[in-house]
Subunit: 380 residues, 4 copies
């Protein structure tokens, strides 16, 4: 049976542009879906670079002005892969034009921006989702399933870190392709929006809403050359951020993120401790889930290293055979698959803009607490 | 610049048919190559099933007789993904028709068959390679690089196992889709050709040729229902095989494979111990390489867990960023990339049929030793 | 050569009484020291129980009143293994009597008590030490050595947790042998003084003094039967405590401790991230140290698992051969060995009461912050 | 209650002399036993060295001729810690004198010697045991318990290695204190008797008797200076040995040992795969047992890392609290405890000489097979 076409416009062509394009190309080979994405147009200001990108991935055309993309009749969905400071304008314009939107995370530069975006998509009634891709790493999805089944019982503790070490050198500039994440004007914040946002999205998905937070941030390298000016400029982002939190379910949490943790490339880990059982996960070995169940016979009780590659585990019936792992890129394929499936069924795809707004609010509270030195309530 | 087309015919549509098709679809998105594979035709006896497979992957046409495929003028390369008992006839016919050949492993049912196949491709002068894909898992390729750089010094020991547990149930039949590996008529041997062949291919690549072997095999479940007849029949394959070996470089080795090792899905591990350094690898965490270097400062000397995801590691500049792992399927993408690149340069792609014949000879010696109870020389 | 005798009086006979007695019995078998401890007297209120304890360990006599012990002329050193609420009175009396003192941790119920104790021992000029035994786990001592050698460079981050799960059941009473740790009157605080005190002691030893902290605490089970009354009483201790901290060297830290982390028996871990290198340690595998050095050749760079069992590693020349691990109890033997050696040399044995007072002050600041909801300065 | 005295004579004062003496000193502090060992006499040819040893450990007297020790009326038990070539004569003389015997492993230089020793102790009716201490590492004892409870079901595979790297240097001499293990005249064999004997003892305890073996050995360094002569002499021991085996219960096995496995200090590991469950253990983390149970719920099935430190695990009620590990030396304490308890009850302490003879026979078969190149039956 012929697939229905869903015409995608990609805005941006960096790391995430590649990750999403790969997902669009791959999804129908592995998932049996009513819809098939068509790579209609790729857009970026640099005409030559976007042409190269489009050719490589098979986009049918290119644009250099994102407003043109939104005006196009042959586009069903807009994929926003730009720096964070452009998310709001593009998303609102896209919503007003009735386009579906798949927006990179974090949703916005801050909560108020995010609120505007939510209103826009909700008013327009367009399908929308935010690329918090780690929810769809099979081991993480499995964690959600175990929690929903009640296996952990009452939750006491949540802890997460996202540790990197790639900005330790003072020679690294801020701004430009790949390095806009060090430029507060483009990124909004540093590790809080970039890394902790992931940790927070997973946490509220697994453990519910947060009540309040107490945070600290630090910028270890105070000045870096800006690629736009060639001059040393004050660094506006947070290099590191840690915070304490209380969840509404009564559990306590610690969160920490930094780009100065020597030895960790992208070590996102979380652990959740319940009355009966606990769960750990680690992005560096994303195909494994550690699980401890106190109800096991005491003499053989221990942390189980579950190799999440079997057909009865989330998404894994689509891939290879037990023992053969998938990787980072597959989380995006899963999100596309779910999005297409939900479009066919008229259902939302979590995390929606509204879901992602909660993360945005927490990031805001965290950054505020780091400034005030006080506990800050998370707006509900 | 427009890519040159390389028209591929796929014979077979099982697990490996999917793995290779995915590699053909993906390779040009990540590798900058002169050639681009075109999925020209897919072939299998069952017309309906091959049509479904072809539609899913975008093959332009289908055939139900592999001889027709080989006669087609619009086919440049034949990819053999059939059960082992068909490799020889297809490969020889393909070679005689001047087609390039990418053949699934093991090369053949046995050494004499393999010898005929080598002669055919060498006489025809066609490009040929065998899908011993694990050579191109980046961590394994890195192991090869470290050894070639001389970091290990004189080698003393090699040990490898390939442990699975999926055939422990006596209810599992032999024969048919997915289960032809339990049928000696289709597979030739059991774990020896299926799993140990991988271990041996890696071993001779990393550590050179073997001298002699002493082996034992076992068939734990003596009879299984055959899907072709519905009757219980003697099981002709080896469920488990272990052997001792001596390499020509003076090192000692142990190899073991089984499908009765409860708890292991596809645990292929190898370790190599040299005078100065040692290396370990494990398919269940294929993105890591363990490395020990005795020349390290003694108080901080230990096994290093190297997360093989950085851009200066084999193949990894093509994928994501440090810390983000790739998976099993990528090893096939790498082999296609190397094959296409070598075709452009007129160079062979290891392991060639001739390289794979050495593995076949070792498998034969292993199976012979298991029968005779004596050490058997590996023919050189 | 005959050893000099150092007559020890043990006050208390619980878990720590055993651990210390074992250390006194063992130390001269493995360490070549001028002094030999003599188990002179054991003291506890229950005459029968202390007799059994004394017989088991070879104490020459018993007492039921600790004041009698301090009056004895044949006692050189007092080992305080009582609940925390008795530390101060015993220590001050012992100091005034000119006895050396080995006091269990935490030093006192709070900072002011600790200050009095410091003044007493310093005025009396008696040798004194506090049993923060983890400093002398060889892997931890090695960590200190690596840091002191400057291998890590500038420090960015410190993180430590001490996770247990033994008080999750609401049926557990407070008070009595082994359970006085749940009774605020005897223990002073919960996990803060019991577990975080260890984390803090190690941290300030490895990373210097702290500036300020922001903490939260929780008591998950609000009421427990008290063994003294048989009645349900409010639980006064903290079941869990987490805090953020800034060190004076500019590094950021997170600390967390709980007895509600299902799956962890006594998981004390710390990690320290420096500019050039990082270190991890874990009490559950106390004989290993993980070390990452960014200066390693990039393609073989990874966390090294150092098996701290070689003769050139701290204390390990005294024990077995490489590969053969020691355990928890040996940390106490090491502290006794260092104490005896320092007594012979007239040198102090860290952590002294004064060193331990710093930890006490931090615990106080942590508990205060948890109440005020504000960042609290650590008194210097 | 006063303990009964059991007077021990120690012959030898090397590594094992220390390990056993420590066990004798410690055992009654932790185990409630009828008997208490008394360190009566220590014996070695060098009067000065044995005096130092005796003083250190508290032996009441010394001898320089082991025959004198056996003649002494005040000695109940002889502990043989000499090089292997003296085991037989001492043991037989001790048995004839009616002494209990605790003999270091391997029992003898070879099977015929061992047979004589067995006959002697059995004729004399004296208590006897061989120090295959690893049986009493709690995790290993727990493995035995799990197997005896039938948790694994039918056994398919057993594999063990004992890997070291301390003799790689060609500069190391043979002979003398600590290095008699490289001298065939003193040791009998190399890694086979030293290391594989441990693996075999555990294996037959856990998995029953062996049927036949096929082995290979290698001596990588052909000549080493002998400390007795100062001259280079041919090395008579095996540096490495690997063998295949079949157990009587139908399971297959591989064993390997070497002193040339760079990166491994004393890596004794075993794994046993059964129909329902599997077990792994590793001497480098001897306080853990890995356990996989196929009957676990499939989505949370994985290898469990059991931290063997709880009171309901073998021997662990005698030590500390959950989470706090013991070490290598404790295995000897456990063997002494069991021996003393069995003496009180008139029961034998496994492994007896007779039990250890089976290991000796297997070692002989292994060494013979390595010479003949054939499978060799294990005499039953």
């Amino acid at each position: 049976m012929a697939k229905k076409k869903l015409n995608v416009a990609m805005i941006g062509y960096g790391f995430m542009g590649r990750a999403h394009s790969n997902a669009y190309c791959k999804v129908n080979h592995f998932f049996d879906l009513e819809y098939q994405p068509v790579l209609k147009v790729a857009c970026a200001r640099n005409a030559e670079q976007i042409k190269t990108f489009a050719d490589n991935w098979g986009y049918e055309s290119t644009e250099t002005d994102w407003r043109k993309v939104i005006e196009r009749k042959d586009v069903d969905a807009i994929d926003i892969c730009t720096p964070n400071n452009l998310h709001k304008d593009i998303a609102i314009a896209a919503a007003e034009a009735g386009k579906m939107i798949l927006c990179e995370k974090p949703l916005a530069m801050n909560g108020p921006e995010g609120e505007e975006m939510c209103k826009a998509v909700e008013k327009a009634g367009v399908a929308n989702t935010v690329w918090y891709n780690y929810r769809r790493v099979p081991a993480v999805t499995l964690a959600k399933q175990l929690i929903d089944e009640g296996r952990l019982g009452k939750i006491f503790h949540y802890r997460a870190v996202f540790l990197q070490d790639w900005t330790i050198s003072a020679e690294l500039p801020q701004g430009g392709q790949g390095l806009w994440r060090l430029d507060a004007a483009a990124a909004g914040s540093g590790v809080t929006g970039d890394l902790l946002a992931h940790c927070i999205d997973t946490a509220i998905w697994l453990n519910g809403s947060m009540k309040d937070v107490s945070a600290m941030t630090e910028t270890f390298i105070k000045e870096r050359v800006h690629t736009a000016t060639g001059q040393k400029q004050a660094v506006g982002i947070d290099d590191a951020c840690a915070f304490l939190a209380r969840f509404k379910n009564g559990s306590l949490a610690t969160f920490e993120s930094t780009r100065y943790a020597r030895g960790h490339k992208a070590l996102y880990t979380f652990e959740i401790n319940g009355e009966h059982a606990s769960i750990q996960w680690d992005l560096h070995d994303l195909h494994r889930l550690n699980y401890f169940d106190h109800r096991d016979d005491s003499i053989v009780r221990g942390w189980r290293s579950v190799h999440v590659t079997d057909g009865d585990m989330p998404y894994m019936d689509k891939w290879w055979v037990p023992g053969l792992q998938i990787g980072y890129e597959h989380s995006f394929v899963h999100q596309v698959a779910d999005f297409l499936d939900n479009v066919a069924k008229g259902k939302p795809t979590a995390p929606t803009f509204r879901d992602a707004l909660e993360t945005q609010h927490i990031c805001d509270a965290v950054l505020k607490s780091a400034k005030t030195g006080s506990w800050e309530q998370v707006p509900s």
